[in-house]
């Protein structure tokens, strides 16, 4: 109750990990931690779905339905009927 952030779309397949360490470097919330053989998913609950780990994983071991966690942008997109939700539009940007 009153926690919409308990689960998210982050998925990690250690089988594909080559232990390059990128996910641990790019994550600003310490979701991944470097380990001896493969990266370890230590704090999945803190994931904000920014997608940096997925984008920087060279083997596609990580998948996350990433996007901008901004209600203003999402409501605006819903009202306009557009699919794309992003910050920083050319005129009425929500974030700077």
């Amino acid at each position: 109750m009153f926690n919409s952030y308990e689960s998210n779309t982050l998925e990690y397949d250690p089988e594909l990990c080559i232990n390059c360490g990128m996910c641990s470097i790019v994550c600003p919330h310490g979701v991944f931690s470097p380990n001896e053989k493969v990266a370890r998913l230590v704090d999945p609950g803190s994931c904000m779905e920014c997608g940096a780990c997925q984008l920087n994983c060279p083997t596609g071991a990580i998948s996350v339905d990433s996007g901008v966690g901004c209600a203003y942008a999402m409501i605006l997109a819903a009202l306009k009927g557009t699919e794309e939700v992003s910050c920083g539009g050319d005129d009425s940007s929500c974030c700077k």
Binding site: S4, I25, E49, M74, S86, G88
Partner: protein, 334 residues
Amino acid sequence: MSDIITLSTRSEIRPANSDITFEDHMDHIKARWGVNRSSHRVEPGLYALGSPAPDSQVLVTANYTLSFDKLRSSLKGIDCYILVLDTRGINVWCAAGKGTFGTGELVHRIKTTGLYDVVNHRILILPQLGATGVAAHEVKQQSGFKVEYGPVRAEDLPEYLKTHKADPEMREVHFTLPDRFVLIPVDFVKVLLPMILAAFLLLLVGESLMAAGIVSAVLAGAVLFPILLPWLPTTDFSSKGFILGGLVALIFAAFSFFGQASGWLRAGWVLIYMLVLPPITAYLALNFTGSTTFTSVTGVRREIFTYVPVMGYMFGSGVLLLIILTLITIFGGL
């Protein structure tokens, strides 16, 4: 001869320093208050900070003045190159989310600035929060440059540059009171006009207490909420906002309760305050999710589906009741 050709195809390297002038400060204040929002831009391209040599580091940033100025002022006494990407005047984090601070623009900028001839190494240092838009392995593949993600905050750069290793603390985003505080004006100016209009309309029909209530609910959502964020109970921004807005509403409901003559009217006004004010604060609170660096899309979507209908029904029925009661009061039905 070949030197001349290389030089002529290479775009100019602009000089930069670490000083923040009075004009820079004024520009920052305007940016924070949303004045000419998209005009706080730096010309994209290559900059020389101090007097860099071919083996000097190359740091990459966005062409938003606040981003560029934060970077160069954090590098006092360090000679290096700064590669400014064209993010249309938007900060690294937001531009990376949008993809303008991205692999494509980075590779394009490396090529158009002739960086290959300026430095004798192939390493770029990017802000960690740019990783949302940049795939390091693809940059390497497309340009030959190795992307190194530096710390989240520019002020940690001098420390980072000594070892090229960031400790976990440098990799972690914070959302401290000062961090939240500087974000208040830009959201506040957006709600200022609707707030003044609503208050003015209510004053016209003689509802001064309601006008004050609306102003208070907006201030609670846009100013108080960002400050109190970590201390408000529950996790969801909307529920936190409902709690804060509920407290504001209670104050006005109490004022109204003791100020009305008829018991019938008393109940009506208490209901109006409790219905109209909390959703205003809650809605503004929900919108603050976009200013944070920790709310996930999945969570925000869930919040919208859970709370926005409630906000709509509460506000709608409250306003309807307000109109009815105001008409009754004006035309003296009771």
